[in-house]
């Protein structure tokens, strides 16, 4: 006990020093402790003396009129209620109280100030339970003790020994006044191994005697979690709230002490089990939309079941728990319930269990088919919120796992054929963008045909969202490729049990199909919508992904946009589109030149076709001569217009009308620039910008307006002759030549 007293003193020192500033506390702490200890050993700390008194006081000592007792008691009480008692003090005082050395009155009084400063030693509680078994403690005091245990339960340092005496504690359950508290305590202590048929029977006997008591049902429901083969129980929804708190006596003091000691019991609710309390009011009709609740399965066929050391997912509440029990987690009886819990999904991702995935897919496929394809709940309007909920959850799950479910994919292929394009559009397109790579042999039938129909018969906004969806799809495919290509080397052929292996070329075929498809959609879509800039913006988004496939994702593939996309972007009336086109051309050039370098260096088999280089050069030279050199409508160029027709239009110098100054997208900037350059001029002469330094300034001006894409394009593709002042300022330069 002397050693214990020493230890407790240093504990006390550290807690009493909390009025000092933090820095001094840490620096001077050890010094201070040593000094204080010496001083106190000399003088004798009244608190330690009091503890000593309580540990040594003999049974039968009278308490009425006992001044020594009173003084010591007050001493401990004051410490207890202000700073909390150190573990040793708890141990001493609890033993003192429960042994009834000075009667029941003392016991109650001690229990009331037994506030732990840090933690409660398990042994003290075990000993107290032992006293509970032998001594004649008044029932109300027993209740008080149990309430105290429940209140400080989280602060008990470990629970192994308490679990070892589970049987003794269980014994008290028949005591009518104690059983609510005992049930709660048992609830906190129960492990799978403590659920035994005879205990179940005892509790059921009690149930027949006492009626449907919530505390009994809650304990039994936990038994059902561990051993569903022993007990059947349906909890009424109003009873799912759990046990009451019994901490009223200590609540205020405990929180004050904890606040003071700054050591709150950590409660990490980082990842929560989602769908516990859902509305059960939904009709049976829409039963298939409900995510089932997590519950353990009756069947024990897993390899761990014999060892009885199984951790049901239902009991999983925190991530550390997941890590600790990773090897013995048991999957729930219904895999669909995993959708509601991100923790469980973490586990699912980790186990990679075939049949678990198949079960989940069966459930999910069934729900989707019933809701959207079979439509057995005929009032489809009523279930739409349920469907929305399910799809949103599915989306977030797939997002979490970063992969799509195969049942979703199968469902989507069927659903696209009957979809009207507006029902739950964001969700359906979201799911669609998550489908894995579709082999090029069937991509047309599965994906393109139904999409084309929807695309051309729907509104502008639908068109935009389809392009966006396909862009996301491509991004995901490319990301998968870059991940697995790194993993398996460049040749991605899996020796799996599937009939088809997806080789790199197979994957490339699929990507080419997708890109070409979007190209066709875009070209026609732009025509239909009159080159709407919103649609154009989504299309350019897509080509921003496409132009970087080689450098960003390591896919040796470059696909140029079709003319139906390139020219509308080039002649767009908004500068943003043109700017983005500039950026895209710049990235194309980067990709093509580095592909060429790599090809020459490594002499690898892959090569980008001459046709691609030719197309790129073609676009590039047109862009340069149109924007920079003011050359348009010349024979041999992509856009030829008959001279007579041009003269009929009565536009002066028609070839300049799409250069950087006269281009409708930049005309406003040119006027602005002109005004800033020559504020005094009355007559507008935009051509004067072309002369000399003004042209450089004008470019600077444009770049400063945020046209970074244009800047990159100009800097990468146009080498300028240093001879300033000549009329011919720039020269298109075609770097990546076709070999």
């Amino acid at each position: 006990m002397a050693k214990a007293a020493n230890l407790s003193k240093s504990d006390l020192d550290s807690s009493s020093g909390s009025d000092l500033s933090v820095s001094s506390r840490t620096s001077n702490r050890s010094l201070r402790v040593v000094e204080k200890e010496r001083r106190k050993n000399e003088a004798g700390d009244p608190f330690l003396l009091a503890l000593k008194y309580f540990s040594e006081v003999e049974a039968g000592t009278p308490c009425i009129g006992n001044d020594v007792l009173e003084r010591n008691l007050v001493q401990v009480e004051r410490v207890g209620l202000s700073r909390g008692l150190p573990p040793e003090a708890i141990s001493v005082m609890l033993d003192y109280a429960m042994s009834l050395r000075m009667g029941g009155m003392m016991c109650v009084r001690v229990l009331k100030f037994l506030i732990p400063a840090t933690m409660v030693p398990q042994e003290a509680v075990v000993r107290a339970v032992a006293w509970l078994c032998v001594s004649k403690i008044a029932i109300s005091t027993q209740v008080l003790f149990l309430r105290w245990v429940l209140t400080v339960f989280d602060m008990i340092d470990s629970k192994d020994n308490l679990r070892a005496i589970y049987g003794f504690i269980f014994h008290f359950v028949t005591e009518e006044n104690l059983s609510p508290y005992i049930c709660h305590l048992l609830y906190l202590l129960t492990r799978r191994e403590s659920v035994r048929p005879f205990r179940v029977r005892k509790l059921l006997d009690l149930q027949t005697k006492m009626g449907r008591q919530p505390f009994l049902l809650l304990l039994l429901s936990l038994y059902k979690v561990f051993c569903p083969e022993l007990v059947a129980l349906a909890l009424p929804s109003r009873m799912r709230s759990g046990f009451k708190n019994h901490n009223s006596t200590w609540k205020a003091a405990l929180s004050a002490v904890q606040k003071r000691n700054n050591s709150q019991v950590s409660s990490d609710i980082s990842l929560t089990l989602g769908v516990k309390h859902k509305t059960n009011s939904r009709k049976r009709k829409y039963h298939h939309l409900e995510v089932p609740s997590l519950s353990s399965s009756v069947q024990r066929n897993s390899p761990f079941s014999s060892s009885r050391k199984v951790f049901p997912l239902e009991q999983l509440h925190t991530f550390p728990q997941l890590l600790d029990n990773l090897h013995r987690i048991e999957l729930p009886s219904q895999m669909g319930s995993l959708l509601g819990s991100s923790l469980a999904l973490c586990y699912l991702d980790y186990v990679q269990d075939d049949s678990a995935f198949l079960r989940l897919n069966f459930w999910l496929g069934h729900a989707l088919h019933e809701e959207f394809l079979f439509c057995s709940g005929d009032g489809s309007s009523g279930s739409s919120s349920g469907a929305l909920h399910l799809l949103n959850r599915l989306l977030s799950t797939q997002h979490f796992l970063q992969e799509g479910f195969s049942s979703t994919e199968g469902f989507l292929y069927k659903f696209l054929n009957v979809w009207d394009g507006s029902l739950l559009r964001p969700q359906i397109l979201g799911l669609l963008s998550g489908i894995p790579v579709v082999p090029s042999s069937c991509i047309n039938q599965l994906l393109f045909e139904p999409l084309v129909q929807l695309f051309f018969t729907s509104t502008l906004f639908f068109k935009c969202s389809v392009i966006d969806c396909l862009n996301n799809m491509l991004l995901k495919w490319l990301t998968w490729h870059s991940v697995y290509a790194l993993e398996d080397g460049l040749d991605i052929s899996f020796h799996s049990h599937t009939p088809m292996n997806m080789t790199l070329s197979g994957f490339m075929d699929s990507v080419v199909e997708l890109v070409r498809f979007v190209g066709r959609l875009s070209a026609v879509g732009l025509q239909l919508e009159g080159c709407h800039s919103l649609l154009l913006s989504f299309i350019l988004d897509f080509y921003e992904t496409v132009c970087d496939m080689f450098l960003k994702y390591g896919l040796p593939l470059v696909v140029m946009p079709p003319v139906g996309v390139f020219y509308p972007a080039l002649f767009a009336t908004d500068p943003v589109s043109l700017d983005r086109l500039g950026y895209i051309m710049y990235r194309y050039k980067k990709n093509l030149t580095s592909a060429k370098c790599q090809q020459q260096e490594t002499k690898q088999a892959f090569h980008i076709s001459r046709q691609t280089y030719r197309e790129f050069n073609h676009y590039l030279s047109f862009m340069v001569s149109c924007l920079w050199n003011s050359k348009m409508f010349l024979p041999g160029m992509a856009i030829e217009v008959d001279q007579e027709l041009l003269s009929l239009s009565k536009v002066a110098e028609p070839w300049t009308s799409f250069d950087l100054i006269h281009h409708p997208a930049f005309l406003g900037y040119a006027l602005d620039f002109h005004h800033k350059c020559w504020p005094e001029r009355k007559e507008m002469d935009l051509n004067s910008i072309k002369a000399g330094k003004q042209w450089d300034w004008y470019l600077e001006f444009l770049f400063s307006q945020g046209f970074q894409g244009l800047q990159q394009f100009v800097q990468s593709s146009i080498t300028r002759r240093s001879a300033a002042g000549t009329n011919d300022q720039g020269q298109g330069d075609r770097q990546p030549t076709n070999s």
């Binding site: 049976r284 459930w363 195969s406």
Partner: protein
């Protein structure tokens, strides 16, 4: 029901004439206008193997399945399926199943109307565990009926559940044996020794299920895709919910669409030479306002003659074209008399002395002789509903 047009035993005296015409049209273009919906069911049969045995791990690998699945994408009258829809069937062969199956058990199945559901494969269902399933299901039913009362599993309760195997109904090695479930209830005021009354019964079966599909399932799964139930709805719901919780499966209603009703009519007619079917009764609902039900009863001999005439040859297979032609023949005859185009409506019900079936998913099998043929067709319908 106000507009019911009830035609009993239409005389088919002028039938030969019409029937000659039917032959004519066959040789040219077949049934043109009839095949609006059903023709879409033509799909290419491809392997479904590996659809299920997919591993989740790598995305590329997983995408294979989608392709495989894709090719057998079918579209039939609003229902989409991944399995093949058969275009021809064997002619029903009369088989005395009482030789293979316990006659007492057969008696439980026949001459009752069953409501049909489909079930996704059962996870870890064991035919050897039926005793413990009985205990669990009865405890589950009682605990659900008395919310908030814990029940010890295995205790004597107001409800008794019997699981039993009906051996011999399975046709192939891949078919799982049929499981029969009975729920008995003790009457409140009954004496101790009184026999308990059967309040609910149901059975799960699989007869001649698609071999490739069944083989592609991992061994932990047992496919018994067809559930027939009889009894109060509340108990059906409880039983289904127990199965869902215990074997992680899903249930859905199984309707019999008009194509399958037509198949049933043809199959039953085909039995006429061996067993007198006594009558062939068809019920159509026409989309008028208010809807008009047409009950069309045909003399079995007339029906048989028509059927015999549309049969192309005496092969053992019956093709969908023959069935369509048969129904079309009946419809044109009706049109000739009443100027009502039955094909504009939908076939709701088919019944003969051998059994009856309803669009909403109800079936009654009166004779055990052709039970496997009927169950095979229903198993097929149920498998077509499987989500994967």
């Amino acid at each position: 029901m106000l507009n019911d047009a009830v035609i009993d035993y239409c005389s088919l005296s002028r039938f030969q004439l019409h029937h000659g015409k039917a032959r004519c049209s066959k040789s040219t273009s077949g049934c043109v206008f009839f095949s609006v919906m059903e023709e879409r069911s033509s799909i290419v049969k491809t392997s479904l193997n590996n659809v299920l045995a997919q591993r989740k791990s790598k995305s590329y690998r997983r995408s294979m399945r989608s392709c495989v699945e894709a090719t057998n994408l079918g579209y039939t009258s609003g229902h989409l399926t991944a399995l093949r829809i058969p275009r021809s069937r064997r002619t029903p062969k009369s088989r005395d199943i009482t030789k293979q199956v316990d006659p007492d058990q057969v008696a439980l199945l026949v001459k009752k109307e069953w409501e049909l559901s489909y079930v996704t494969p059962l996870y870890q269902f064991r035919h050897t565990q039926l005793k413990s399933y009985s205990k669990h299901l009865s405890a589950f039913i009682v605990s659900e009926k008395q919310q908030g009362l814990a029940i010890e599993v295995g205790q004597e309760l107001g409800f008794k559940v019997n699981f039993s195997v009906v051996l011999g109904l399975a046709e192939t090695d891949e078919d799982a044996e049929t499981v029969f479930i009975q729920i008995l209830s003790r009457q409140v005021f009954a004496a101790k020794d009184d026999a308990q009354k059967v309040v609910w019964s149901g059975w799960l079966t699989c007869v001649n299920g698609d071999l490739e599909y069944l083989r592609s399932l991992p061994s932990e799964f047992v496919s018994l895709p067809l559930l027939c139930t009889r009894g109060p709805e509340s108990l059906t719901v409880l039983v289904k919910s127990w199965f869902e919780k215990t074997f992680d499966c899903c249930f859905g209603p199984l309707g019999i669409n008009s194509t399958n009703l037509q198949w049933l009519a043809a199959l039953w007619i085909g039995c006429h030479p061996t067993i007198n079917i006594q009558y062939l009764k068809l019920v159509w609902t026409l989309p008028t306002l208010p809807p008009m039900d047409v009950k069309y009863t045909i003399h079995p001999q007339d029906a048989w003659e028509l059927w015999d005439s549309v049969r192309q040859d005496d092969t053992t297979d019956v093709s969908i074209e023959e069935v369509t032609r048969f129904i079309k023949g009946l419809q044109s005859h009706f049109f000739r008399h009443f100027r009502i185009e039955l094909s504009a409506g939908s076939l709701m019900q088919v019944s003969t002395a051998l059994g009856s079936s309803h669009h909403s998913g109800k079936i009654k099998i009166a004779s055990p002789t052709y039970i496997t043929t009927i169950l095979q067709l229903l198993t097929e319908c149920a498998l077509l509903k499987m989500p994967i």
